[in-house]
Symmetry: C2
Subunit: 365 residues, 2 copies
């Protein structure tokens, strides 16, 4: 087992990474201050792991609320079911919410914990690669709005994270790949040696070799934690983590939440960002090829959907949180292994990238 | 004009108190960092003051969202209209929300500001006495849930507060009285000289004499600010501000939001707390009489509603946020002018107070 501490002063917390952690009540229990615990999970994960999770809570007053599975249920309305469950049990201000599931469950349970009685305790048990490498670090929580992804939320830190790599054995291939998009992102924006390790070990990860998974998760969490510690509220540096996300959010919103997985949309978004970086001369052609090649090997999409034309795409990007007072901010690469934040992209170049990276669609012979 | 600064480090902010402040763009504008402003108001206040408020925003990209008036609309569902309005205008992370109205509008606009894009700027223009002396200090924001008041929310500080005492000229008598309940509370829990001033000047306040209003608002805000600065997140001392509120929230929830005004329910709650304090020997009989007398002179209720029997009342109190791991915490008086927080109340005494302070109901001749 590896332990990584996210250093945020009095909100510092440990991330435990390794196999068999869902059985480790000795790790979990010291982080539960009160006697009331609500586990928030979904219809897919609960049948697999809820019993194990609740076994760690023996002797406490605990219960579970099971939400429908999927990004399209990440709404204020569904969030209200968590508040219902808390209030029906009359849980007080010293209760703990435990997220058992992927990124959607983590975001919703974390936001519910941030808001319930203006803040109760929160713990994450992430069961997907995406949640283990991304949403469990950094304290971003929230729900979607029909007009934009993650538009309603809070910064709220968990008291601890238990990332049990055994849970990845039940993860569908498609979701494993989606998680790898964020893993690759860390290499691209700030860690060339890790990117090279990924190029050498990608197949080990696809085969779910335990040691490779623990290493990749640990390096991802370390990279993210270093950024978050430097800029918790995303006033500057933290925006680097959005590589591929402004494009990706537009794809997710435009296609309807849930059709594309978040990681898939981010993968296509990373390709678009790399393509644009290359058009600016910031990335060399062989570096662009390495990016596309790695995403491709990870079985991730490298094209935006045929359904989104330039106008629609640009409109969707304009509502993204990364927009400041009307100016579009993008994360690009300059060079490989180093992300940069820019507001200086010529619309003509942006359109060229959108045109070049779109999935050829339709029934043209 | 009086200026009071709430000292919260990098979240410190000024409260300006006086007549004519809705015309003072010079006070407001330095606190708006971006160019996008959404005013949140309600159907009652907007026709009276929205034009004045928007006149201060000339040259900015501004708009307004008008919510229905009343505590029963303080819900997640109605809150979503604020998010709709922000997203339809594609407002970004540097936008400002301005609350123009009473406590409900302040709580909702503040919570929307806390959550929109995980936090945007927030300013309060309170137009009721209650909002000027209570909700504009301390950063408590949120909405109600059918099972409990203010159960969903955030601690979120405004960038400034403009309390224009001229707006109190259009306030219904009933709401002026409701605001006085919180004013009296400050005297009771920590400021005996202010309580004595109130006993001497209550009629001046009911007659809305400007100098008396400015003084009472300033003393109330100062008392609240001193408590909030010492305990922003309500881990201890701040709970004193809940004098009358555990009883009061039970009344509000039990009667259905909106039937009793918040201040009215708090007034009845203060009387119950004083009665219980007297039963414990903490308050002398003549002190209890002074409390009841002052509330009565302020035209506030001093009985709990006949509709709520002991069982219902105790059940409603059990879900209050002040409950910690199942133990009921109450704020009582020991002696007059000094609030204390206790978890040591005998159920038999509590029931005696509930029985003694209930409005005699029914058609008994």
């Amino acid at each position: 087992m590896q332990t990584l501490v996210v250093e945020l002063g009095d909100r510092s917390y440990p991330i435990y990474i390794g196999p068999g952690l869902l059985g480790r009540a000795d790790l979990l229990r010291p982080h539960i201050p009160g006697r009331q615990v609500l586990v928030v999970s979904n219809e897919t994960v609960a049948p697999l792991y809820l019993e194990q999770a609740e076994a760690m809570l023996a002797g406490l007053q605990h219960g579970a609320v099971i939400l429908p599975d999927g990004e399209r249920y990440k709404t204020l309305e569904v969030l209200n079911r968590v508040f219902d469950a808390l209030l029906e049990r009359r849980f007080g201000r010293n209760c703990t919410l435990i997220a058992l599931g992927g990124g959607v469950i983590g975001d919703m349970a974390g936001f519910a914990a941030a808001c319930y009685q203006r803040g109760v305790h929160f713990i994450q048990l992430p069961t997907t690669l995406l949640a283990q490498v991304d949403s469990s670090v950094g304290g971003k929580t929230g729900v979607n709005h029909p007009l934009g992804k993650n538009m309603i939320g809070a910064f709220y830190q968990p008291r601890c994270v238990l990332a049990d790599t055994d849970t990845l054995n039940t993860l569908p291939d498609r979701e494993l790949s989606a998680g790898l998009a964020e893993v690759i992102k860390y290499g691209l924006i700030r860690d060339l040696p890790f990117l090279e390790w990924l190029e050498a070990h990608l197949e080990d990860l696809l085969e779910r070799q335990p040691a490779a998974l623990v290493y990749a998760i640990e390096q991802s969490c370390r990279n993210k934690a270093e950024i978050v510690v430097a800029d918790e509220r995303e006033s500057g540096l933290r925006a680097l983590l959005n590589l591929g996300h402004t494009f990706g959010h537009a794809i997710e919103t435009g296609m309807g939440y849930g059709l594309w997985l978040h990681g898939e949309a981010v993968a296509a978004g990373i390709r678009l960002a790399a393509d644009l970086s290359a058009r600016l001369g910031w990335l060399q052609p062989d570096e662009l090829e390495r990016v596309v090649g790695l995403l491709h090997r990870a079985r991730l999409p490298v094209h935006s959907p045929a359904e989104l034309d330039d106008e629609e795409f640009l409109k969707l990007m304009a509502v993204d949180k990364k927009v400041q007072d009307g100016r579009l901010r993008l994360v690009l690469l300059q060079p490989l292994g180093h992300g940069v934040i820019t507001e200086q992209v010529e619309p003509v170049l942006l359109r060229a990238t959108l045109d070049a990276c779109r999935q050829p669609g339709g029934a043209i012979p």
